[in-house]
């Protein structure tokens, strides 16, 4: 019998996408200052190539890639470098960042540049162009995209899976990209299929975005084997392994990459970013950010220059309300709560969600009553109840045989826990603790 398409378990958080799902993407005006952290992607930070006093045009590099697992950072506005400083980063740490005073009278036109015509290029040249444009995964993890275009040796990619699930509550940036730029998405698909030598593409979209499904279906060119697959609305549908399971029915083996089952997953926003590289030649210097939540006056989907401070974005959206309690970068399920609104929007910033105080989790924690809801929520079938008990006793070694490594920190267990136990935070801690202990032994 054909296995039912979909993945088991998961949770249904309130979607609250209606706040912004119908709002067209608007361009935000340039802020007075942009701050560009050299560390905006997974892998090695970029290497600084500017100094205080330098003038930069929009699109000029301020940092270059440090090896293969790295991408350059480009200035998102024309202006003058006022300093290279340790600056608050959205991940809660400080990061070496380039501060640029934006030139108020500049036209903000990028320098004229050659647009590579990808069809004449060898795969390695396509990969190089993508890396030089600083393209990373725009779904949040900011994994360098060019690395994904070179699958590991002795694996063969058969299917390109474009991730348009966008399962995080509130976020609608991918949704709007699919509705407004379907041709760009499909151009990016064409480039990727060419570079990877893949013949088949599936675009997975949650059913709560019928306009996006329709727009992409209408835009599919006849010469490409591309299909759009509507998916169940369930969190975390957009997680790589869940998406692959939903679309192909195959479970990616524990500890292996999606390439091991012949699939490559790319976020829809990143696919559009690749297209932009070959359409305009512009590097990744701006991105679409959803600003939403009951704590912000005018929710919006905005094109924001990378490096714009959260404060400036929120202010542009009318500021935060009286009862705002929490500012989250990313979605509310996996996003990071911010302490300092001077931290800038990075390449991986999918959204800024401002929660009202009444929507926030309370601080009270009760003991685990073994109700088992976390087991029924975990999309990778772990036993968070047992793992949590080990984590609280710092028995990280005992968590390894229970597959701690397979936890992707999606937060489904914490979401359902009636005792409000911060399970996914405990597991994040335990992973770090286990690494540290192993390093100490080695």
């Amino acid at each position: 019998m054909l296995e039912k398409l979909g993945f088991r378990h998961g949770v249904h958080p309130p979607e609250r996408k209606e706040l912004t799902s119908g709002l067209p993407i608007r361009r935000m005006p340039f802020p007075g200052e942009v701050v560009l952290p050299l560390r905006q992607h997974a892998g090695k930070p970029a290497v600084l190539v500017v100094k205080k006093g330098d003038h930069v045009e929009r699109g000029d590099p301020v940092g270059t890639a440090d090896g293969w697992m790295s991408v350059p950072i480009h200035s998102s506005a024309a202006g003058t470098v006022t300093g290279v400083e340790w600056w608050p980063h959205i991940d809660g740490t400080m990061a070496l960042s380039v501060r640029i005073a934006v030139d108020r009278y500049a036209l903000q036109l990028p320098r004229p540049r050659l647009v590579p015509h990808w069809e004449g290029l060898a795969t390695t040249e396509v990969v190089k162009a993508v890396q030089e444009a600083g393209v990373v995964g725009l779904g949040g993890a900011a994994f360098p995209t060019h690395v994904k275009l070179v699958p590991p040796a002795n694996t063969r990619i058969e299917t390109l899976l474009v991730n348009g699930a966008e399962c995080e509550p509130y976020l609608t940036s991918d949704h709007r990209v699919m509705v407004e730029y379907p041709a760009r998405v499909l151009y990016g698909v064409r480039v990727m299929m060419g570079a990877l030598g893949v013949s088949r593409t599936v675009i997975g979209i949650e059913r709560n975005k019928p306009d996006a499904i329709e727009a992409l279906r209408a835009a599919i060119p006849t010469d490409l084997d591309v299909s759009v697959l509507p998916l169940t609305v369930k969190y975390p549908q957009g997680a790589e392994k869940m998406l692959i399971k939903s679309v192909t029915g195959v479970e990616v083996p524990s500890g292996k990459l999606p390439a091991s089952v012949g699939v490559l997953v790319q976020n829809v926003g990143s696919v559009a970013a690749i297209a932009e590289v070959f359409e305009t030649g512009l590097p990744l210097i701006e991105r679409i950010v959803t600003v939403s939540g009951r704590g912000v006056h005018t929710p919006a989907n905005l094109i924001v220059p990378v490096g714009t401070k959260l404060r400036d974005v929120i202010e542009y959206c009318g500021g935060i309300t009286e009862d705002a309690g929490q500012v989250i970068v990313g979605g509310p399920m996996m996003g990071l709560a911010q302490a300092n609104l001077d931290a800038p929007v990075t390449k991986g910033t999918t959204g800024i969600v401002v929660l009202a105080q009444s929507e926030m989790r309370g601080p009270e924690v009760y003991p685990c009553i073994h109700c088992g809801r976390c087991l029924d929520a975990c999309p990778v079938f772990l036993n968070p109840s047992a793992l949590g008990e080990y984590a609280m006793r710092e028995r990280y070694e005992d968590m390894e045989p229970l597959h701690l490594a397979d936890c992707m920190l999606c937060g489904s267990c914490s979401f359902v826990c009636p005792s409000n136990i911060p399970l996914s935070q405990l597991f994040s801690f335990s992973k770090a603790g286990l690494r540290k202990r192993k390093a100490a032994v080695a």
Partner: protein, 332 residues
């Protein structure tokens, strides 16, 4: 823009609606119809016994528990459930002592909510059964007005309670075991038979349980496993030896319904895994039939659940779920 104090906490920043106190108080509230039915059948005595058991449990939780732990609702459930398993004529001081023992010994000694191995209400009942076997098996009859008192509720502590002989009777299971006398299934379903305060009305217990399952607050696998196993094992026994009671009588008599729906499903003392819950329920079912048919006691639900509680950690260990991307379902 002035920035208000922002709260920094770990993701996820949203949570589902059900909280532990909300679950506990809802389960406690779901017992109300059963308490009322008990009062209807066994008089105000029933209400007094339940109140005494609940008071004993909650006072002990207040004295020994963490500050505020009384408001999580778990002690209230323990107390009311214990009260429902007692005979209506029990002296109130005994009911109170049972509640105190259940919480103090059955729960606090292990570390409070979530840490106990055995169901605290049943620990309280087992303690009373061992300490006061005669009052614990003196069952008032049904049929008197609901405002009447039964037995000797107000006996002074540590004196011998007085029971009026004519007003007591054996439970359906006792009647069958010791006198070979049956009871109609209709009475068992409605609950106008002798027995513990809250165990007699099978229909009402099942309805309350169904409501909890519908609300998503109760795990249905354990009671279903118990009922299925009891039915299967007793039907098989009845086929081999017709003197053994049939499946329907086994299912509807004694504390099976109350125990399966409200005690075996206590999440703290039951396995956390899906398969574990099936095994746990099946184990209880087999033990219940064994004790009822071959044991010296007419009823075995309490000991069956307590015995299986002891196996819970082992069942949990043996039934860990298959992790995504491992085992036969994953390609190699």
């Amino acid at each position: 823009m002035t920035t208000p104090a922002l709260v920094v906490s770990a993701s996820p920043h949203l949570r589902a609606k059900d909280t532990t106190p909300r679950i506990m108080w809802t389960v406690a509230a779901s017992l109300a119809p059963i308490v009322l039915a008990g009062t209807w059948f066994f008089g105000v005595s029933a209400l007094l016994v339940i109140a005494a058991a609940a008071a004993g449990a909650m006072i002990t939780e207040r004295l020994l528990g963490k500050s505020g732990s009384i408001w999580d609702g778990s002690a209230a459930i323990t107390g009311v459930l214990l009260g429902l398993t007692l005979p209506a004529g029990l002296p109130l001081w005994m009911a109170m002592l049972g509640g105190a023992f259940g919480i103090g010994f059955g729960k606090m000694l292990f570390g409070g909510l979530g840490q106990n191995v055995f169901n605290p209400a049943l620990i309280g009942r087992a303690f009373l059964q061992a300490s006061f076997p005669v009052p614990m098996t003196t069952w008032p009859t049904v049929g008197d007005a609901w405002w009447s008192l039964r037995g000797d509720n107000f006996a002074f502590p540590f004196t011998h309670p007085v029971t009026l002989d004519g007003l007591t009777a054996a439970t359906p299971l006792g009647l069958l075991k010791f006198e070979g006398q049956g009871t109609s299934i209709t009475s068992l379903l409605i609950g106008n038979t002798t027995g513990s305060i809250g165990e007699t009305s099978v229909v009402l217990i099942l309805l309350c349980g169904a409501w909890l399952v519908w609300r998503g607050l109760m795990n249905w696998r354990i009671p279903v496993a118990i009922f299925a196993t009891v039915a299967a094992v007793s039907a098989a026994l009845h086929a081999v030896r017709p003197s053994a009671p049939g499946a329907l009588f086994m299912l509807c008599s004694g504390g099976l319904a109350l125990g399966s729906v409200y005690m075996a499903t206590d999440p703290v003392t039951a396995p956390v895994t899906r398969n574990g819950r099936w095994i746990f329920g099946a184990g209880i079912g087999v033990l219940v039939v064994m004790i009822r048919v071959w044991g010296g006691l007419p009823e075995g639900v309490m000991y069956a659940i307590l015995l299986m509680n002891a196996f819970t950690p082992f069942i949990n260990k043996g039934t860990q779920p298959r992790v995504f991307g491992t085992g036969r379902r994953a390609p190699t």
